[in-house]
């Protein structure tokens, strides 16, 4: 039982990380219609900026704004410099350009920081594990869950209750009308892109002490993020949240429990090999099933 609960928490933790990335990706797609493959690079930028500042100053508190600011600024620069010119173009052109950005950022990071992974210490206050009754769980991972959920809450408030959110929602469904009403749509686009980048940077800087900060770390998680966005419904933040938690929990549970289940049915090593294979496919199967039942995802943004 304790093991199940612990794995569910692990799943939720992966889920909120995916949500932070997927929210930006889905907003950018929903509002601007741009498929931004370089979103993973923004995650990497956030992680590297935070790692660099943490190493230089020894303070994780300073690393947080550094990671956020770097990701948001780079994101807005990308929008201004590259993506802005692609709104009217085909998705294929967008994919090509943003894929080029991935290569660019990866190489830039190699030039600046080298190929060897960077190391960020968990802030001492958050190190260690806390006893939750049945089992103990790393404090830092609990913090990630808390920050992720808080961010999700803030994002819903922003989108549902504020003027900016109203424009974002209107922009997603009635782009031409928003423009006709005199809203500076270009500025809105830059702000939304920056917001998406900020969220990716937040995910990146929180991942730093957990994973290794390394070149190409964004692409590893980007594919899962796309799965989340597709499951949730393109352009829907609610969908991204539901999809992220679903993918996080399903992925973790398959990895955790499938080998044990299969071992009851066949010999050890065969079960492990099969379980490894099936759990790697798991989220993609989930995506296929969701798309079969609801071709537009769980919470489609455009009716």
């Amino acid at each position: 039982m304790a093991l199940v609960l612990e794995q569910v928490l692990n799943g939720v933790q992966l889920g909120v990380m995916l949500f932070l990335l997927a929210a930006g990706l889905t907003l950018i797609f929903g509002i601007m219609g741009v498929i931004n493959l370089a979103h993973g690079s923004l995650y990497m930028v956030g992680a590297y900026a935070a790692a660099f500042v943490a190493q230089a100053t020894g303070s994780f508190l300073l690393a947080i704004p550094a990671g956020l600011a770097a990701a948001a600024l780079v994101g807005m620069a990308i929008e201004y410099g590259v993506v802005r010119h692609l709104y009217a173009r085909d998705h294929l052109d967008q994919v090509l350009a943003t894929f080029g950005l991935i290569l660019f950022f990866n190489q830039l990071v190699v030039l600046l920081f080298g190929r060897q992974p960077m190391f960020v210490q968990i802030p001492p206050a958050l190190a260690g594990a806390v006893d939750l009754g049945f089992f103990s769980y790393p404090v830092y991972r609990l913090c990630i869950i808390a920050v992720g959920l808080a961010t999700a809450g803030a994002l819903f408030w922003l989108i549902q209750r504020t003027r900016l959110g109203m424009l974002v929602r209107a922009g997603a469904t009635h782009r031409d009308m928003v423009q006709a009403l005199g809203v500076d749509i270009r500025l809105l686009y830059t702000v939304v892109f920056g917001l998406g980048a900020l969220l990716a940077g937040l995910a990146g800087l929180m991942a730093g002490p957990l994973l290794s900060v390394q070149v190409g770390m964004g692409e590893q998680i980007l594919i899962l993020t796309f799965v989340v966005v597709v499951i949730g419904g393109l352009g829907s933040v609610t969908g991204a949240f539901a999809g992220a938690l679903l993918v996080g929990v399903v992925d973790t549970s398959l990895r955790a429990f499938l080998p044990g289940l299969l071992r009851g049915l066949m010999t050890g090593s065969e079960a492990d090999a099969l379980a490894g294979g099936v759990s790697a496919m798991g989220v993609y199967l989930l995506m296929a099933i969701v798309l079969l039942v609801r071709p537009k995802g769980l919470f489609p943004a455009h009716g």
């Binding site: 093991l3 190929r115 060897q116 992974p117 190391f119 968990i122 830092y140 290794s212 973790t252 050890g268």
Partner: protein
């Protein structure tokens, strides 16, 4: 040769060697194609192999075994398809006959058969997948590093020597990962209480940590090369497991770079390897000194393998007078392994994989309090691999 052609050659002398025949062609450096992983989390592995290989060339004054060489390097980005394209390009466009460099077994499995089918020669500085070591062994395929399983067999033996009885074992779900778990199980005499295949691109191991804690092993064996290994160790520490369950790892899970990133939590880790930077033989000392002087960064096993590969190729080139056209002559020369390996004892077995010694190491504090990998004892002497017997060469 006509007068005009002579004149043309005169003009081109020093610039072009294309229109000069026979004897002068020997001046053209021998091209060696290096397909390796330079980008992504595994990028530092290929970087070390490349840099150490180039170091050996540089120490020979641009020559290997007296033959001028030109090393062409391309990044496979850990993608088998990309590796194959690069190898194709090297062989067709650049007319390269001798290839090396591949870090990861999945790339090797895509590239090596292709190279061999096209009458190329491949010398591996790292990947040594089991599928190419037994029945599928090939006259033109040499592995200087190790057969994949040997790394893990040595770790299994190390675990026996240290008196562990219940092991939980993990490796990524690809050929080298499967070889890892097989290799460990072949040697380990205790009980396996859990066996997990992780994903090759996985960096979050929270689910696995919970499984380990639940299985209550007295030792964990894990094989995660590159960045994943760093993430694994740190999460192992964060999960509070490092105090309660010791770890036995093969060298790819704890190299000098991983150690630098992980730091103090790695103290007490048991490593097994065929080489370590503290080896007390002249070849190793010379290598360590030269590498440190040139690159000034931690030296990994990968670097030593890249260096040895260059030396092995150099020794063969010396014997064939710099020619690789006659694959059989090159093979005879190569198999003599007439070079001073940084590992000390080294020879090729019948499947053209190494027969060498394995050592146990432990992560300890040096005099300044920094964690270092210290060589402790010899675990195995003069061992080849368990696939050699199936090789009909």
């Amino acid at each position: 040769m006509s007068v005009i052609k002579k004149a043309a050659c005169g003009l081109a002398a020093g610039v072009s060697i294309l229109c000069l025949g026979g004897a002068a062609a020997a001046q053209e450096p021998l091209k060696i194609g290096m397909v390796t992983t330079l980008s992504g989390p595994g990028g530092y592995l290929g970087q070390d192999i490349r840099d150490a290989f180039n170091l050996a060339v540089e120490m020979g004054g641009g020559k290997l075994g007296g033959t001028p060489v030109q090393v062409l390097v391309e990044d496979d980005a850990l993608k088998p398809g990309q590796g194959k394209q690069i190898a194709d390009k090297f062989m067709k466009t650049d007319k390269v006959k001798l290839l090396t460099g591949i870090v990861f077994s999945n790339v090797a499995l895509a590239v090596v058969p292709d190279v061999l089918d096209n009458d190329g020669i491949y010398v591996s500085p790292n990947a040594g997948p089991s599928t190419l070591a037994g029945k599928e062994c090939h006259r033109n395929y040499f592995v200087v590093s190790w057969q994949n399983d040997s790394l893990h067999e040595s770790a299994g033996q190390n675990a026996n020597n240290l008196g562990f009885k219940k092991a939980f074992i993990l490796a990524p779900n690809y050929q080298a990962g499967k070889d890892a778990l097989e290799g460990f199980k072949r040697m380990f005499k205790g009980e396996i209480v859990g066996e997990v295949f992780t994903r090759l691109d996985q960096t979050d191991f929270a689910a696995e940590m919970a499984q380990i804690r639940n299985a209550k092993p007295d030792v964990v064996f894990q094989f995660h090369p590159g960045g994943a290994g760093i993430a694994f160790l740190r999460q192992y520490q964060q999960a509070g497991l490092i105090e309660s369950v010791p770890m036995v790892v093969p060298s790819p899970s704890m190299d000098a770079v991983t150690l630098k990133a992980v730091g103090a939590p790695a103290l007490g880790l048991n490593v097994s390897a065929q080489w370590n930077s503290d080896f007390d033989n002249p070849a190793s000392k010379e290598f360590v000194e030269a590498f440190t002087k040139k690159y000034n960064r931690p030296i990994t096993y990968y670097a030593s393998q890249g260096y040895d590969t260059a030396l092995a190729i150099g020794a063969a080139l010396k014997a064939t007078g710099g020619k690789v056209d006659n694959a059989e002559a090159f093979r005879t020369a190569m198999l003599k392994a007439d070079f001073k390996s940084v590992r000390g004892n080294f020879k090729f077995g019948r499947n053209q994989h190494p027969i060498q010694d394995w050592y146990s190491m432990r992560v300890e504090k040096d005099d300044a309090g920094n964690p270092v990998i210290r060589t402790k004892a010899k675990i195995l002497s003069d061992v080849g691999d368990s696939y050699a017997k199936d090789c009909k060469l």
